[in-house]
């Protein structure tokens, strides 16, 4: 019977110190690994004879401005349909050099999702066949989802502070 504990055992057995930060928010096993080991860990889980995490559910980015040295996080969620179990893997990278290896060699659906994360956060996926912006305009020069940028359009003249008495 595959459950979170058996996954933890196997993964720690295979990778030792390279995986850490195990937790189970709402029953979903979550752990962290280094960016350099990400492809290996995901490949191990995908090709494992028993686990068979053959489906990449989601790949997203998160910006933690307070987490110095690991501000940007690339998080991917895998789902094993045969065992009906999910796992979430995070990889933190510093904002000055945000490089994460690409998962497109393992999952074709990671292609656009990594482009979206690059578009929003600036995380560069090394080895990606076509890493350019996907949802925003090509000539945009900043990464809008980072916390320091405002939501509203900067060129509005009808929502300026003067009108709101600030």
């Amino acid at each position: 019977m595959i459950n979170n504990e058996s996954i933890v055992e196997e993964v720690v057995g295979q990778f030792g110190q390279k995986v850490f930060g195990f937790e189970e928010p709402f029953g979903l096993l979550t752990f962290t690994t280094n960016a350099s080991d990400l492809v290996e860990v995901v490949g191990f889980l995908k090709n494992h004879a028993e686990f068979k995490f053959a489906f990449l559910t989601d790949l997203a980015g998160i910006h933690f401005p307070d987490n110095i040295g690991g501000e940007l996080c690339s998080v991917c969620m895998l789902h094993s349909w045969e065992n009906n179990i999910r796992v979430r893997i995070k990889a933190f990278v510093p904002i000055v050099d945000p490089k994460v290896p690409t998962l497109t060699t393992l999952f074709a659906s990671a292609n656009w999702q990594e482009r979206e994360t690059f578009d929003f956060y600036g995380i560069e996926y090394t080895g990606h066949p076509n890493l350019k912006r996907i949802l925003n305009m090509e000539d945009m020069d900043y990464f809008p989802m980072r916390k320091e940028y405002p939501l509203e359009d900067a060129t509005r003249e009808d929502k300026i502070d003067a009108l709101f008495g600030r």
């Binding site: 925003n136 809008p144 939501l151 509203e152 359009d153 900067a154």
Partner: protein
């Protein structure tokens, strides 16, 4: 007797075998009851347009049954849905290709003013790139409201001067949008 309302004839001189009216009125009548829309449907308002084209709210009663996806053959540009900044140049190109007389309806809150999407990537109203004749607010507007907007354009088509493109006002408007 049926209760279907047919358009009244314009004021004119009638006799046996002839009807004389002013050219304005005749052409206004013809134009307004045969507007060919270009449904520029981008998001949710497009689905309400599909409901308007369906048999329950039937837009073909108003003569707008034939949607033309080619701007060269369309009279009325109905912009339905959110226009992002990436889409702005495309919208302008489509507008430029339309031949006079042309009217523009901004359907929905997003096309009128950006709607609920007050964000960095959404154009806050299409009147930032093209001149608009009628705004239909709503999120999404009911089909009855879209038809009301269409009727306002019909009113414009009937009552404006025939060659509105030659009026000073219109030329100044197009200048301000750098369209000419």
């Amino acid at each position: 007797m049926s209760n279907i309302k047919i358009v009244d004839a314009p004021e004119g001189l009638e006799g046996s075998g002839f009807f004389a009216t002013s050219l304005d009125k005749a052409i206004g009548l013809a134009r307004s009851y045969s507007l060919w829309p270009l449904p520029f449907a981008t998001s949710c308002c497009g689905i309400e347009f599909m409901a308007t084209m369906g048999s329950n709210y039937d837009i073909s009663r108003f003569g707008a049954e034939r949607p033309s996806f080619s701007p060269r053959q369309a009279d009325l540009l109905m912009v339905m849905g959110t226009i992002a900044k990436k889409m702005g140049p495309v919208l302008k190109q489509v507008y430029l290709q339309m031949a006079e007389p042309r009217w523009v309806i901004a359907v929905g809150a997003c096309a009128s003013s950006g709607g609920i999407f007050d964000s960095y990537s959404v154009l806050q109203g299409i009147d930032r790139v093209i001149p608009v004749d009628v705004y239909v607010p709503g999120c999404p507007p009911r089909p009855e409201q879209i038809i009301d907007g269409l009727m306002q354009v019909q009113h414009l088509a009937q009552n404006e001067s025939l060659r509105r493109r030659n009026t000073e006002e219109y030329k100044a408007l197009l200048e301000s949008y750098k369209v000419l």
